[in-house]
């Protein structure tokens, strides 16, 4: 019990520090909410106004952009028209919140060797990064490849593989 209390106190301290840090950029992001509400998990109304979603947050990103991910053809890393449209919507959102940093996670389907797929995932993540970097500061974007080690869908068919060949944009909070 004592340990738990200590942890909670530590967490409260971190929140306070984060609150201070947010004051640094004067005018850019909208003010943080005054009350601490638990992060909403259930589906939210599509309208941004009046929602409990914090603007500039992970949840806000997922609601506002076309998709958090772009998909690729087998053994390819070039961006389709659909992928570019998705990244355009991400770039527009990111332009509104210039303090937000992102990591792009590159993935491959299981039908490749392990080492090659790590390199292929890196290619895909960088393909998305390079496109976004024409619209926002490249310094805000980091990449990581998971190769075929973290599939989104477990199946061994073309439908599953198509969803696993992806580059996923993840908003980093607390930066």
């Amino acid at each position: 019990m004592q340990n738990l209390t200590t942890k909670l106190l530590a967490a409260a301290a971190l929140v306070a520090v984060a609150g201070c840090a947010k004051k640094a950029p004067e005018q850019l992001p909208p003010p943080p909410p005054t009350e601490t509400t638990p992060a909403p998990e259930t589906s939210q109304p599509t309208g941004p106004v009046g929602s409990t979603v914090v603007p500039g947050s992970k949840e806000d990103f997922l609601q506002q952009v076309g998709s958090d991910r772009v998909l690729f053809a087998t053994d390819q890393y070039d961006l389709s028209g659909e992928a570019r449209a998705t990244l355009d919507s991400q770039a527009a959102w990111l332009a509104k919140y210039p303090n937000v940093r992102i990591t792009i996670e590159g993935h491959a389907d299981e039908r490749g060797t392990r080492e090659y797929n790590l390199a292929l995932g890196d290619r895909r993540a960088n393909s998305a990064k390079n496109y976004l970097a024409t619209k926002i500061d490249a310094g805000r974007i980091s990449t990581v490849s998971y190769g075929k080690e973290r599939p989104e869908v477990a199946g061994s068919d073309e439908g599953a593989w198509a969803q696993n060949r992806r580059a996923v944009t993840v908003v980093i909070t607390g930066m």
Partner: protein, 441 residues
């Protein structure tokens, strides 16, 4: 500390085998499994039952015979008749076999021996090989080990028998490091694990907190180089087996992966992805500046040294698809060697230098071999997804991993160069990325 000593039991030991025997009883390793040699391995008696921390010497003598039986069976070249199917041999018979009896069992060769406790806390395992029809001794050796290392004495005896009857180098007294896997396909937990080549003495080295991939032994086997996703930054680390500590090999932001030691242990060759382009580099194993070896805009990865350290085989998609290339160890003279249909990945140079094993992609994923000049290509396995070959210390057996369609569960398998003797390697959980170490010192 020297845990292991080899000694000749008697001056009469045949340092030079008799030519007549060499002709009378040998195993043809190239002919496949047409006729595995029947060989009898009775339980090894003890001159006096004595307790040891690993059990008494009578029990050890039986277990040693069982391990030898299992090793020889796994090689695919023998049809062993083990201790469970044979009666007890007296200590006096170890050096004076009842040959007419053994002729009756159908065995062509006979392995006998003994387990003896020495005064100093060690045990001696005696190992004798006989030609049953000729009624003669072919070789004998003794192994002094601490009782905890009794399995190594058994593997050494099996290696002695294998080497004497096939003319090939030994490989049973060796270990494997690999990636132990468990959990659902989308969230697999991957841990480094180490074990004897037959699956015994299994031990986990990492706790599964980070994804770990592609472990490879250093030549001295005291360290393992591998890739870990520590802090979600996939990079190459060196793990010290003795202390359990790990060290980042190259401190920079890019992904580094697919590492492997040079045969002299002085360098680590690896791949690094920079802005979507993957090339091969090498770095001194003790740390320092990395030297870039390839500059193609394609994916250059899976580098593996020739056993003399002068050349490196690797895969590259610079020509459009994954193919195998060879270059000098300094990166000069890059030359494609694979020209068959399909794609080629993860080339690994045999410790004998005569062959390169690889993953062949086309329809399925299969394990294949070819000469270093690209000639003599041969496919050894046929399953939905086999990949990641690794050579036995004698270059006669290849371990790899096989992934199941759908579930994504992977297991370790071995196959010999004939492609006929394919066996699953037992592991407590699922397994991938095996790396077979050199013969133990």
């Amino acid at each position: 500390m020297k845990l292991f000593r080899t000694l000749l039991i008697a001056a009469a030991a045949s340092a030079a085998p008799l030519p007549a025997l060499a002709q009378s009883i040998t195993v043809d390793i190239t002919g496949g499994i047409s006729s595995p040699m029947p060989i009898a391995i009775p339980s090894m008696p003890t001159p006096a039952i004595a307790p040891t921390p690993a059990g008494d010497t009578a029990a050890l003598g039986r277990q040693v015979a069982e391990v030898i039986t299992n090793d020889l069976r796994n090689s695919g070249l023998f049809q062993p008749i083990g201790p469970s199917a044979l009666g007890q041999v007296s200590f006096a018979q170890v050096t004076a076999p009842d040959f007419p009896h053994w002729v009756g069992t159908g065995a062509q060769a006979l392995v006998q021996g003994f387990a003896q406790a020495n005064g100093d806390g060690t045990i001696t395992v005696g190992c004798y090989l006989y030609d049953v029809f000729a009624g003669t001794e072919m070789t004998r050796q003794g192994f002094v080990v601490s009782p905890a290392n009794w399995r190594r004495a058994a593997h050494k005896c099996a290696d002695t028998v294998y080497t004497r009857l096939t003319g090939e180098g030994p490989y049973f007294d060796s270990r494997v490091v690999y990636v132990s896997e468990t959990g659902p396909k989308t969230k697999r937990i991957k841990r480094l694990a180490i074990m004897d080549q037959d699956g015994a003495n299994h031990r986990f080295l990492t706790n599964g907190q980070n994804i770990v991939l592609t472990p490879r032994f250093a030549p001295n086997q005291q360290t393992i180089v591998y890739m870990s996703f520590v802090n979600d930054r996939p990079r190459v680390y060196v793990y010290d087996v003795g202390s359990g500590r790990q060290r980042l090999v190259l401190d920079q932001a890019n992904m580094t992966f697919a590492p492997r030691f040079s045969p002299d242990g002085r360098f680590i060759v690896f791949s690094m992805a920079v802005n979507g382009n993957t090339d091969i580099y090498r770095v001194p194993a003790t740390g320092g500046a990395a030297q870039r070896l390839t500059t193609s805009p394609g994916i250059d990865t899976a580098a593996s040294y020739s056993p003399d350290g002068s050349r490196i085989v690797f895969e590259s998609d610079r020509g459009g698809t994954q193919q195998i290339y060879v270059m000098s160890a300094d990166g000069s003279g890059q030359q494609r060697i694979s020209f068959g249909s399909g794609r080629y990945a993860t080339p690994v140079w045999s410790p004998r230098g005569d062959l390169i094993a690889f993953t062949k992609i086309g329809g399925g994923f299969r394990i294949g071999i070819m000469a270093p000049d690209g000639s003599g290509e041969k496919t050894l396995t046929d399953a939905w997804q086999d990949e990641g070959p690794s050579w036995s210390p004698n270059g006669r057996v290849i371990m790899f991993f096989r992934t199941a369609q759908g579930s994504g569960k992977a297991d370790l398998w071995s196959v010999d160069l004939t492609g006929v003797n394919e066996k699953r390697v037992p592991t407590p959980l699922d397994g991938s990325d095996p790396a077979w170490g050199p013969l133990l010192p």
